[in-house]
């Protein structure tokens, strides 16, 4: 091996041009979809199309420029993918609003998209090295718990639609669970990097599985307890499942111990059975999952009607969908929120949903690729955890609304209407972009090469 060979190692391409082209393509798709809705509903191109188009295009261009400046080596696919999902969500909300759905507001969602992109750029600019987060492990853990508890506090906590998951800041309400998600993943990553050697120690061996030592069960049990607490006190099944699942996945990534996954699953089943025995609403969800078409459940308040309406929408959409603006997604209660996926399914059809799931899968895949390429354990865990939690969240909510698993409320990342979720998820994306930049950046030249022959390439 000569030094000449070493110098000719191909560097990962920045692919900035490709990224810009894909970004423009994503914005163009969204604009066409937007025009499509207007033509279908009012027989004309929506009046605000130019504003929306220039607005979204401008925002994305700004995000691109910041990314090009502050994270030039970042994965070129992440930003266009997110732009596309965010844009399609925006179009669906616009369509629901045009269809007369109360509380659906495309302008609010566009505002929060803008705010989300600002958060994205600010995170990229401020956070030059994500490893700084490792120093904030316990701060993040504390913040996560504080956010988790906030909705239960008097004065600022608020219960909407039966779930106590909101805080009222006076000028706006916030759903802190989405921020909790990021804070806790940062905490888990920092904590597990510090403790993974201990947690990976084998205890007794049962059959073919190495059990961890009993005294190391603490963190798992605490997370389990917190998740159950969320479930009991806030009646928020989704967040509870999200946090616990993400913790188990990260524990596994950190320790390579399959036993943790098994313990996690056992604890989950135990918790689910316990919750089912104790709480009517958990049992109801399960009953609905087993037989959503049941007329009695359909008529019951909080029964299967919303789920069935979602399934009706999907069935009516069929393979090709009705076309944007030509279905009746407004039949689905809260179609702009948890059920936006089924609303999209009616008008974009199976074809559209497969494409959407593909986009999410690609996004997760780019995140996991970043984790594999990352050079330090903290980055690997953080990138892996954030990617997994994104996939896990999509699985829980999309699986829920399509009756693959019992329905638990969660936002569909980047699609559901809601400021908190958009802000939090854009920050999540900024973290992934930051880490992919770090991972793909060519390492500094090794010091021991310096004394050897310098090769200049022309």
């Amino acid at each position: 091996m000569t030094a000449v060979d070493g110098a000719q190692v191909t560097l990962p391409a920045k692919r900035r041009g490709a990224q810009l082209a894909m970004l423009a393509f994503a914005v163009a798709i969204v604009m066409l979809a937007y025009a499509n809705v207007g033509l279908a509903i009012d027989d004309q191109i929506p009046a605000g199309m130019l504003t929306y188009g220039l607005g979204l295009g401008g925002l994305m261009l700004a995000a691109y420029l910041v990314l090009a400046k502050f994270a030039p080596w970042a994965d070129p696919l992440i930003l266009p993918l997110v732009t596309l999902v965010n844009g399609i969500g925006l179009v669906m909300i616009y369509r629901l609003e045009a269809g007369g759905m109360p509380r659906a507001s495309a302008s609010t969602q566009l505002f929060w998209t803008g705010a989300g992109i600002v958060m994205f750029t600010v995170t990229l600019i401020v956070l030059r090295d994500h490893r700084a987060l490792q120093r904030m492990t316990y701060t993040a853990g504390f913040l996560g718990l504080a956010f988790l508890i906030a909705p239960l506090l008097p004065f600022i906590g608020e219960e909407i639609n039966g779930a106590a998951i909101w805080i009222d800041l006076g000028f706006t309400t916030l759903q802190p669970a989405e921020f909790v998600k990021i804070a806790l993943v940062i905490f888990f990553a920092g904590y597990l990097v510090a403790k993974r050697d201990v947690l990976a120690l084998a205890g007794r061996r049962l059959l073919f599985i190495d059990l961890p030592r009993a005294r190391d069960l603490g963190p798992v049990l605490i997370t389990w307890g917190v998740s159950l607490g969320v479930l009991i006190l806030q009646k928020d099944l989704g967040t509870s499942l999200l946090i616990f699942g993400a913790f188990i996945a990260m524990l596994y990534i950190a320790t390579q111990r399959t036993s943790w996954v098994l313990i996690g699953i056992l604890l989950f089943i135990g918790g689910a059975v316990l919750a089912g025995l104790l709480f009517g609403h958990v049992r109801d969800r399960f009953e609905v999952f087993l037989d959503p078409g049941n007329q009695e459940l359909f008529e019951k308040v909080g029964g299967s009607e919303q789920l069935m309406q979602g399934l009706f929408a999907l069935g009516s959409g069929g393979i090709l969908g009705t076309g944007l603006g030509q279905g009746h997604p407004d039949e689905i209660p809260l179609a702009f929120s948890d059920f936006i996926f089924t609303a999209a399914g009616e008008e974009l059809g199976l074809t559209g949903l497969m494409a959407l799931l593909m986009i999410y899968a690609l996004l997760v895949e780019r995140g996991l690729r970043t984790a594999i390429a990352a050079r330090d354990p903290f980055s690997k865990l953080l990138a892996g955890g954030l990617s997994f939690i994104l996939a896990w969240q999509v699985f829980i909510i999309v699986g829920g609304v399509t009756n693959l698993i019992p329905l638990t409320g969660l936002v569909t990342p980047f699609m559901s209407q809601g400021g908190s979720a958009l802000l939090a998820n854009w920050i999540l994306i900024a973290l992934l972009v930051r880490m992919s930049d770090a991972a793909r950046k060519p390492p500094p030249q090794a010091i021991q090469d310096e004394g050897m022959t310098q090769v200049f390439q022309r």
Partner: protein, 486 residues
């Protein structure tokens, strides 16, 4: 850490795989179940997406679709003269339809194969397909006259008016009626509540009494008995003398159940002309004629008027009419004067009257004059069809002459129209104990060249005698005939 990361990536892949498989299952495999579920309102919206064709009668719009772009239910059905035409147009409710709305549904909503060419053209010219419009044979003036006259009687009943030469239905009224507008809104709750109320109503306003209900025809049936008598021997005529005892002895029944005349009265001298018997509506001569001719001859005559044959579709399906089964001589005598198992729809009795008016040839009654697509192109046009020759032209002439005499000299003087010869026959049909009998009247005019034949039934409209029934039912027929002729 790359090993577990790769396995985590595999787990994510598995999750997305499961979601994709499940979405395929829901949207491709189970799609039809979800689409067709009755709780899925989309089917119901689709019902209101099409501009249904209009239902017309001459220059009158009986039913039309009105666009409401603001609503999820884009086209809603309106019946400008609702109750008057309710049993003809029918209604267009969220889940079903009736009347012409049902019978010509596929033409009205444009889905009929007959409109395939029109739809293809619309597809290429990018026009929204509209349904075809259905033009009825109804004459609004006659319909309204029938409706108003029957309503004035304050009773339940039905009126049918036919054009004898073609069978075209000129008027068809059934009372009580309902407002189809109230059953045709897209508001399921409201419509079902209104429907259930109408359905539970003991007076059955939803039933089209003109075609869907049969009644004993009473003395109007004596026209048919007379027809059978005249057909049996062409030398017989109005002046043929028939036996008319005060009480007709029926074989094998107690004397108490023998057949008297109305009110037990004598019929002339006991030996009267056929026309006299008809004018006075004596029971005994017709009971005797029926017994003398026998069941087969009587039933044969009935079937030649279309009674008991293939069910009529006008296009709504009419209830069956029947002379009754063969039981014994007593039953035959009773059936020959329109009692016992003898059951006729008002439409059938109008056909009897029209057949006699049309020289003995009965025409198949029909309601749809023509169907035209949205651009006015003809899709379907009425083609009058014969049911058959019920009686010879000679017999028909004799019957017409006698029926004119009934109006001029007999029980039906209330149907006289000055300057026009009207033929008619009253009837009183015994019903349940304690209820007033139904009053019937069948007629045609003008006798020389009949333009209209009418059948009227007024439920419990008679005080007991034919004369009193004639007072109730005949003026209604008169009003309809006047409306057609003037």
């Amino acid at each position: 850490m790359n090993g577990p990361l790769k396995r985590a990536a595999l787990a994510c892949l598995l999750m997305f795989g499961l979601l994709m498989v499940n979405v395929n299952y829901v949207q491709a495999v189970r799609a039809e179940d979800y689409r067709a579920d009755s709780r899925n309102k989309r089917n119901f919206y689709d019902r209101y997406q099409v501009e249904r064709g209009r239902i017309l009668a001459g220059d009158q719009v009986l039913a039309e679709s009105v666009e409401n772009p603001e609503s999820d239910y884009r086209f809603q059905r309106r019946y400008p003269k609702g109750p008057i035409y309710a049993h003809i147009t029918g209604y267009f409710s969220p889940e079903s339809e009736s009347g012409i709305e049902q019978a010509r549904n596929q033409l009205l909503d444009g889905s009929s194969a007959d409109l395939l060419i029109r739809r293809s053209i619309d597809l290429f010219t990018n026009k929204a397909s509209k349904g075809a419009s259905v033009d009825l044979t109804i004459r609004p003036k006659a319909q309204e006259a029938a409706y108003n006259a029957l309503r004035q009687s304050g009773k339940r009943g039905a009126v049918v008016a036919l054009e004898p030469k073609t069978g075209a239905i000129l008027a068809m009224v059934s009372l009580p009626t309902y407002d189809p507008n109230k059953l045709s809104t897209p508001n399921k709750g409201e419509v079902f509540a209104a429907y259930n109320k109408l359905d539970a109503d003991k007076t059955s306003p939803l039933i089209n009494r003109a075609i869907s209900r049969s009644y004993p025809p009473g003395s109007t049936y004596k026209v048919l008995t007379a027809a059978a008598f005249l057909e049996d021997d062409s030398s017989r005529g109005p002046q043929t003398v028939v036996e008319a005892p005060q009480l007709l002895d029926l074989p094998n029944v107690p004397t108490a159940q023998d057949l008297p005349n109305s009110g037990g009265a004598a019929c002339g001298t006991g030996q009267v002309s056929l026309v006299f018997a008809l004018e006075k509506s004596c029971n005994t001569p017709f009971g005797k004629i029926g017994m003398d001719l026998g069941y087969d001859a009587m039933n044969e005559q009935a079937s030649r008027f279309g009674i008991g044959g293939d069910p009529l579709e006008i296009p709504m399906r009419a209830a069956d009419s029947s002379f009754g089964d063969e039981v014994d001589a007593a039953a035959l005598a009773q059936a020959s004067i329109g009692q016992r198992d003898n059951q006729m729809t008002p439409l059938q009795m109008a056909m009897v009257s029209a057949g006699i008016a049309n020289n003995g040839t009965v025409m198949k009654p029909y309601l749809v004059n023509k169907v035209a697509d949205a651009e006015g192109g003809e899709v379907e046009a009425a083609d009058p069809e014969e049911v058959g020759e019920a009686v010879s032209p000679e017999t028909a002439g004799k019957l017409r002459q006698m029926m004119v005499s009934v109006v001029q000299n007999g029980t039906a003087s209330a149907a006289q129209i000055s300057g026009i010869n009207v033929g008619g026959k009253t009837g009183t049909a015994e019903t349940a104990e304690g209820q007033d009998p139904h009053a019937w009247f069948i007629s045609f005019a003008p006798a020389e060249d009949p333009k209209v034949a009418v059948a009227v039934i007024v439920e419990s409209g008679s005080a007991g005698s034919d004369a009193s029934g004639g007072q109730t039912a005949a003026p209604i027929a008169k009003a309809v005939m006047e409306a057609v002729l003037r």
